[in-house]
Amino acid sequence: QSNLTVCFSVGYSAVALNHVIDFKEKKQEIIKPVSPSELFPSLPIVQGTSKRIKVLTRLTLVVSDPSHCNLLRSTSANIRLYDIIAVFPKTEKLFHIACTTLDVDLVCINVTEKLPFYFRRPPVNMAIDRGIYFELLYTPAIKDSTMRRYTISNAISLMQVCKGKNIVISSAAERALELRGPYDVANLGLLFGLSESEAKAAVSTNCRATMLHGETRKSACGVVYTVKKPRKVEEEETAVPACKKAKTQA
């Protein structure tokens, strides 16, 4: 919970709490996400604007076997309760499947070890067309020097294939002090090989697009936002300052 207070004070306008599911154990059931209202009686206000911070829930599936993907197609009610769904493929085939057919919002790219597979252009281009974003973590880079090298080399190889589009940078912070402000994260994007505008987009507009993609997935068709002109301007039409995902181990 202290992580969230730090986020708010640093200037993020939306945060997603992550729940990781790993398939190494035999049976894993997807539990209901923790509702944000249980954590905070009243959500504090974003610094600089007068709106409240959004707290979303997010699920990450660590898949190392094609049979695990069946879980996504199952009609378990609990999956629908999560706002954003991410998948973490471990092999080349799974990466291909995730980019082309799976119904997810984010594909996580491993940063903590040398990638066992190379990125190829066709699945990456298909993912970009479908509106799926690739996610990079930055907290391992802050903690450890060897992780930093793997992070940078994996990130740059991803950049060379996808030309910097559809990238989201997020933190896997387990403690409040591992977070960084949005401007700093955009500067980290420069280290990963993004250009200045792409790096800023990776922190703000791409994240917003992922949120909208998640909503689209929930409602099974496109999302239309209406603007009430005379009364007040809806926030969806203006750019939200920053958006980030924080991972907490459940």
């Binding site: 202290s2 206000i45 600089g48 409040a176 002090l177 960084r180 401007y183 500067n187 980290l188």
Partner: protein, 164 residues
């Protein structure tokens, strides 16, 4: 006209330990930032960034820091700032992180931004106020925030704003 162009980076030191704020000094902070640059960009980065690197302004109460570097190497500096993990002084390590607020070309622009930022921060504190006197104190400092002129040798302007 030929002159050296600098970039001034405004940061805020965020830490959970309240003692950390008291022991912020320009030397410790400068060492921590240089160390981070050396770890990330190596000897070349450290040498490039330390051409005109100083800690220009430090406010221990709010944790505001103003760093100066050359315009050619400010990207190296900015990209290494997220890697500062702790401040070390008198054999004590305080975990913290730096939050970049603004990068400007002159001290005056950074000052203007800082005044605006402090005003917003005071407004936020006003909401969390508990006692009436604290509330009045903050309201008074909000009203007295301004950039006042003062004659000084270097021609810098003094700012008069409320601190925590």
């Amino acid at each position: 006209m030929v002159r050296f162009k600098n970039r001034y980076v405004l940061c805020e030191v965020v830490s959970e330990d309240p003692r950390c704020r008291q022991c912020i000094e320009d030397r410790t902070l400068g060492l921590a930032v240089r160390d981070a640059i050396a770890r990330v960009h190596g000897d070349y980065g450290l040498a490039c960034c330390s051409i005109s690197f100083t800690v220009k302004y430090l406010n221990a109460y709010t944790g505001t820091v103003l760093l100066r570097c050359r315009k050619d190497s400010y990207r190296l500096l900015c990209s290494a700032l997220p890697f500062v993990r702790y401040l070390e002084s008198r054999a004590q390590r305080y975990p913290c992180f730096l939050n970049t607020l603004h990068v400007g070309g002159t001290i005056r622009t950074c000052q203007k931004f800082l005044i605006q930022y402090n005003r917003i921060e005071l407004l936020r504190l006003l909401q969390n106020c508990t006692t009436e006197e604290e509330r009045q104190c903050i309201q008074k400092s909000l009203l007295s925030c301004s950039l006042t002129e003062e004659q000084s040798q270097s021609g810098d302007e003094e700012e008069d704003d409320g601190t925590e």
